[in-house]
Structure formats: C-alpha cells, structure tokens
C-alpha cells in the first residue's frame, strides 16, 4: 500500500507511542548514587506503514540509534508503547513482551548495523554468520541450511561459493551485504537499518542504496532507516522523522519535509547540507553554539537557545507534537506563522 492511498484506513506495521528511554548517570563505584538522567529518547511517537521506508534523521546524540534499538528491544524502554503488527501473533506491544515472546517477534524484525567491520564475527564463516539465525530458530539445518544461505547470498549480490570464507576477505561494501543477508535470513517484516551506508565509500554507497530498494520491492520489506545524511534519507524514504536531543521535532512525508519544512531546526539542517554544485554557494543558516546536553537540557523547547525565531513562550513552555496538516507533525509553538525555506531546485 502506498502512503498516498487514503481510501483504506491507515494500518500501521509499527506504531510507537510516547516512547521514553532515560539512562541513569551514576557517580561513585561501590556506593553508587544516582546523580541524573540522560533523556536519550523522550516522548517519541511515530508510525510506519507496511512496505514503506521511514527515515530517522538527526545529529549525533539525538537518540536516533537508541530509538532503533528500543524498537528491537535491545534496550528496555523506560516507558511507552511499541505496537508491532506481527504476521503470526497479530498486533502486540513489543515493550511489554517477555523473553519467550520476544524471540518470536524478533524473527520478524531484524537489524542492519552501521559498522560492517565490527558487526560480523571475524571467527565465523559466511555460512555460520548468515546461517545462525536459521539454526537458532530451528528453521533449517544441514544441507537445507547451506542451500538457504547460498540463496540469501545470491539475493544480496554475493557469490555462493564464498560461503566458507571469513569476513576479513571482503571489502566494506561486501560486508554490508553479508549483514543484510543475515538480516533477511528469516524473512522479516521490518528491518531497522542503523546508518547502513555511512561507513561506505561514495562509489559503493550507491550500489548499497539500490540493493536496499530492490530487496524492499522483492520481499515487501518495511524499513526504519536511521541516518545522519539528509541526501541519503531523502533518496530512500517515504516519510521522515527529525529528532533533536531525544525529542521528535518534525514528522512528515519526504517531499513535504524537504520542500516545506515547518520546524526551524529542520530548516537549519537542510540549509547546512553542502550542495554538490559550485553555482549554488549559499550561506547556510549557521546555528550558534552546540547541541544541548541531554543530561541537562534547556527549559521550554530544547531548541530555543539556537533558534532564530525564539520568543518568550519558547523559553518556558515545551511545545507538544501536533498534526499541522494531514500526515505532517511538528512540535513548535510558531509553526503556523513561520514561513521557512526548504530545499531549492
């Protein structure tokens, strides 16, 4: 189903509601004391429809990776709900599942990691790496396992003869394909891609993005695509979520978010991307200062100390996420009155 299809009532593969993850800051070793909290993810809500790609962008430390890991339940959320429409179990709250049920759910949601060098065990062959999820979940064994792994390697564009080799024999782009084959082994519904192309060279990045798109249409995959690279996110996503210091600041269809952003932070992010065109030497909107400290965030809107449209209300009152137009969510007090610039052609 395409996101434009408004006649069908919206069904979500994944719906995240008021998700929070606060990491404790402890001081002392033996008699450790709680001295504060890092609000890595703070009240984040969004949804993903089946078959689409949701991009999750933000600067380092904004909580985008944590959000991805919370959905996989690699971390336990502090509070909030993660509703996942599992093809066997139906609609379940991932945040409330026990270990046994989690194993079942995780067969349908998989993850691809950023660093293709550290996310593959150097002592395991491709057969062991890609075959492990099949073996652990008792899907296949023996020669059936080999056939299945060979097929998976072929799907991601690697030669099945390489099955007995170790990861060190492969380049960065090829390793990323191995990680992808492992993620696809169990035929998942949702794949969380955490910066899958950031560590790759420019010339290899395009191959990997094309492969991700091909696999999506072939296996009807749904992606949560976490990245800091706005050009890549625009290319691959149907909808985009922008995060800043643990908060969701804007969530909209890709074209809308890039051409008509409604949050000043989104506008500044877009203008900061260096454009690969010497005739478009624009002066970016330079944000003063640094990203706020998530352990000690400013009052009101977290973005207000760097925002050029800041008014008194922004300093005292935290804005709520609201739907400003259909499928376009923003958390800014002044979203209605501001006329912000998006990407120009």
């Amino acid at each position: 189903m395409s996101p434009e299809d408004q006649t069908v009532p919206p069904s979500f593969l994944l719906e995240v509601k008021n998700l929070k993850k606060h990491f404790p800051i402890k001081k002392g070793f033996v008699f450790s004391q709680l001295v504060g909290q890092v609000k890595a993810v703070d009240d984040v809500s969004f949804y993903i429809r089946p078959g689409e790609t949701l991009g999750l962008v933000g600067e380092s430390g904004c909580g985008k990776t944590t959000t991805g890991r919370l959905i996989m339940r690699a971390y336990d959320p502090t509070s909030g709900e993660i509703w996942f429409d599992d093809c066997k179990l139906g609609r379940v709250n991932v945040a409330a599942l026990d270990k046994q049920q989690l194993r079942q759910i995780r067969m349908n949601m998989q993850m691809v990691f950023q660093d293709p060098y550290s996310s593959l065990n150097p002592r395991m062959t491709l057969l062991q790496i890609v075959g492990e999820p099949l073996l652990v979940n008792q899907v296949a064994r023996g020669s059936e396992l080999q056939d299945r792994v060979a097929e998976l390697l072929k799907v991601v564009g690697l030669r099945p003869e390489y099955m007995q080799r170790y990861p060190h024999a492969f380049s960065g782009g090829q390793r990323q394909r191995i990680g992808l084959a492992r993620a696809l082994a169990l035929n998942p519904q949702l794949v969380v891609c955490d910066e899958p192309v950031s560590a790759l060279d420019v010339s290899v990045q395009a191959q990997s993005l094309n492969l991700l798109q091909d696999l999506q249409s072939e296996f009807h995959l749904t992606y949560l695509f976490v990245s800091h690279d706005l050009s890549v996110v625009e290319h691959i996503s149907d909808r985009v979520v922008v995060m800043y210091v643990g908060k969701l600041v804007e969530h909209a269809r890709t074209e809308e978010l890039f051409y008509k952003p409604r949050h000043p932070y989104t506008e500044a992010l877009l203008s900061a991307v260096p454009k690969p065109d010497p005739r478009q030497r624009s002066t970016p909107i330079v944000l003063e200062g640094d990203v706020a400290d998530p352990a000690n965030p400013p009052s009101g809107c977290y973005f207000h100390p760097r925002c050029r449209f800041c008014i008194e209300k922004c300093r005292t009152e935290a804005p709520q996420l609201r739907e400003i137009s259909p499928d376009h969510f923003v958390s800014c007090h002044r979203a209605d009155e501001l006329d912000l610039a998006g990407v120009t052609q």
């Binding site: 800091h228 890549v232 900061a272 260096p274 690969p276 330079v286």
Partner: protein, 345 residues
C-alpha cells in the same frame, strides 16, 4: 604559467609503503599545483592516496612509507612572522621532497609555513595538555615570544576562530570540549603562525552537518582575513563544491582529473569523475519513489595488486581495448583542465 602566484607544485610524486605483505603504491605519480590565496580541493575515496600526498608535503609520512620519486617545490616568500603579511618577493624555491624529514629546515616550515588540520580532533590533540599549552608550543617554537606573550597569542587565536570565552577555554583539556570546539582549537593551533598553506585533511568528516557548516564558514572567513592557501582534502563532493577554487580528483594514487570547480561539476571528463557525480544522492533531486542511483560497479581494488594499465578500467563504463594495457597519459584538454584518460588523447 605565471610563477608569481604559484605556491606549491608537486611533480610526479611517488610515495610507496614497503610492508611485509608487499609494496603499497599509495601515491603513484601525482601532480598538483596550489596557487597563492586559493583553495585546492582534493577529492577521492578511501585509499586513493589523498592523505598520503598531504602528509608527503608535510614530510610526516607514517613508518614504512617513503617518497621514492618526484619533487614538491615550495615557493617561499618573505613574510613578517608577527602579522603574517607577505611580500610578493620570492625568497627561495625549496624542494620539500629532498629535505631530511627530521632536519632543521623542514621543522622551520612545518607548523609555520605549512600547517595541517586533521580529521579527528580527539586523536590529533594531546589529551594530557591544555589547549593553551598546545597552541603555545607551536607559537614559542616558531616565534620569539615569552610564555606570557605566547599565551596572549593563543587567546587571540582562539578568539579569532570563534571559541566562546577564550580566556577560560585556554586552560581546558580537549576532552572537556565538544567535537566542533576541538576542531576550532585545532584550526587555531594550525593558524597561529599564519601559514601560507593550510592542509585540511577531512576537517569536517567527523562532525555533524550544522557544526560542519560552522567550521566551513569559519575557514572561508579566515582564509580571506589571513590570505592563505588551503589544500582541502575530502571525499564529500558537496564540501568540495562549496569550498574549492580548483579540484583534483584522485584514484589509486593518481590524479585522474584536475580542473576548476566549475568545470569539474559542469564539464567532468574522466569517466570516474562523471560516475562519482552521478552516484551521489542530491537534495531536491528526487522525482519519484523508485528512483535509482547510477552506481559504479565493483569496489576499489586491493592496493597490493593493482590492475594493469588504467587503474580504473575494471570499473569503467567507457573502457576501450587499450585501457588494460597502457597507462593513460595526462591530457591537457583545455586551459586549466587536465584528464588522465585515453578517450581524450
């Protein structure tokens, strides 16, 4: 060629690494020219030798590496060490490649006439010295100042690079600063002796986009103020388009194309340059959901056994029969536009 504005000329530079596994020809016949007060962008993927070329200029090539051929002519001008203002009178033309890398001559140039900003500010700054000590060391090494004057000079430099509260930051350690602030400190240190050439090796790669925009704006501003040349090394074509006057594209140790920034982006000649430009996702270029990127097949070859003939031929879309036999010469196509490809012979 008017010699009066030439600052640095690299001719047929070859820097090889002699390792147990074999010889890596990191830079294999590179020609570059840097003019006074202009920016040369050097672009290429990992392993193309762009960093080694820069380190060869500074004569700080890592262990095992050696300049085996070529010259690096540095046109030294009379200058006032206090203000850094230069007369147009040529003092000396030095071949940096012929100097002893531990000798007095190169040490008087390194840090004073030519200085460098590295990619990772955390690993290139000393963690056990304060920012002030590290800047002060450079200043007192090259200028006859006592410690009090050196400290004042350091504060002045920190102020120039836009460091908030320079009087206090000067006594901080690198770990107390954010990534952007560390990079500012690095730049302050590099510029403290008013070099005529600043080599910036991926100075913004480790930074977020909004911080990157801050640093790029700062570098442009300082270049105007201090009248220096910049050799800007990056793999990001967007940054190149925004910063450079001339661009050299490197592939496997060779400069494959050398042109003005305008020509490179609007009239790219080498198949590698053309493919690179087509393979990057651009903001605002997305037309429909299933748009695919043009990709370059394969990946960068293993440095121990490079392909014969043109190093790009296994991946080239426009290869001819001759490409795997003969090494293509550098062809001058237009004034100030050179390309290493048989298609233009």
């Amino acid at each position: 060629m008017n010699n009066s504005d030439l600052l640095l000329q690299m001719k047929d530079l070859k820097t090889y690494f002699f390792l147990d596994e074999g010889t890596v020809k990191a830079v294999d016949g590179a020609d570059l020219e840097i003019k006074a007060c202009s920016t040369l962008g050097v672009v290429g993927e990992s392993g193309c030798g762009k960093s080694v070329a820069a380190r060869s200029i500074m004569r700080i090539v890592a262990k095992g590496g050696r300049i085996v051929n070529g010259e690096i002519m540095f046109h030294q001008r009379l200058r006032d060490p206090e203000t850094g203002s230069r007369s147009s009178n040529l003092v000396d033309v030095l071949d940096l490649a012929a100097l002893n890398p531990h000798g007095e001559k190169i040490r008087s140039i390194r840090g004073a006439e030519i200085s460098m900003v590295f990619q990772e500010p955390m690993t290139s700054l000393s963690p056990v010295h304060t920012i002030g000590n590290q800047i002060g060391e450079v200043v007192s090494l090259h200028q006859k100042l006592d410690s009090k004057q050196a400290r004042e000079k350091a504060i002045d430099m920190l102020d120039r690079v836009g460091m908030p509260l320079p009087q206090r930051t000067i006594d901080r350690y690198p770990h107390e600063l954010s990534g952007g602030m560390r990079q500012r400190a690095m730049i302050a240190m590099a510029l403290s002796c008013h070099p005529s050439l600043l080599i910036a090796d991926e100075p913004t790669t480790a930074l977020d986009v909004t911080t990157e925009a801050q640093i790029l704006t700062l570098m442009r501003q300082l270049q105007e103020e201090l009248g220096m040349s910049i050799m800007f090394i990056t793999h990001n074509l967007g940054v190149i388009a925004q910063m450079a006057d001339r661009v050299a594209v490197m592939y496997l140790g060779k400069v494959v194309e050398d042109a003005s920034v305008e020509d490179l982006f609007y009239k790219p000649l080498h198949p590698y340059t053309q493919a690179l430009l087509q393979s990057i996702p651009r903001l605002g270029a997305k037309k429909d959901r299933n748009q695919r990127l043009a990709s370059i097949r394969g990946s960068v070859p293993d440095p121990y056994n490079l392909p014969r003939g043109c190093p790009f031929h296994p991946r080239c879309a426009r290869r001819l029969d001759i490409c795997d036999k003969e090494e293509p010469p550098l062809v001058k196509v237009d004034t100030g536009h050179q390309v290493r490809c048989v298609l233009y012979k």
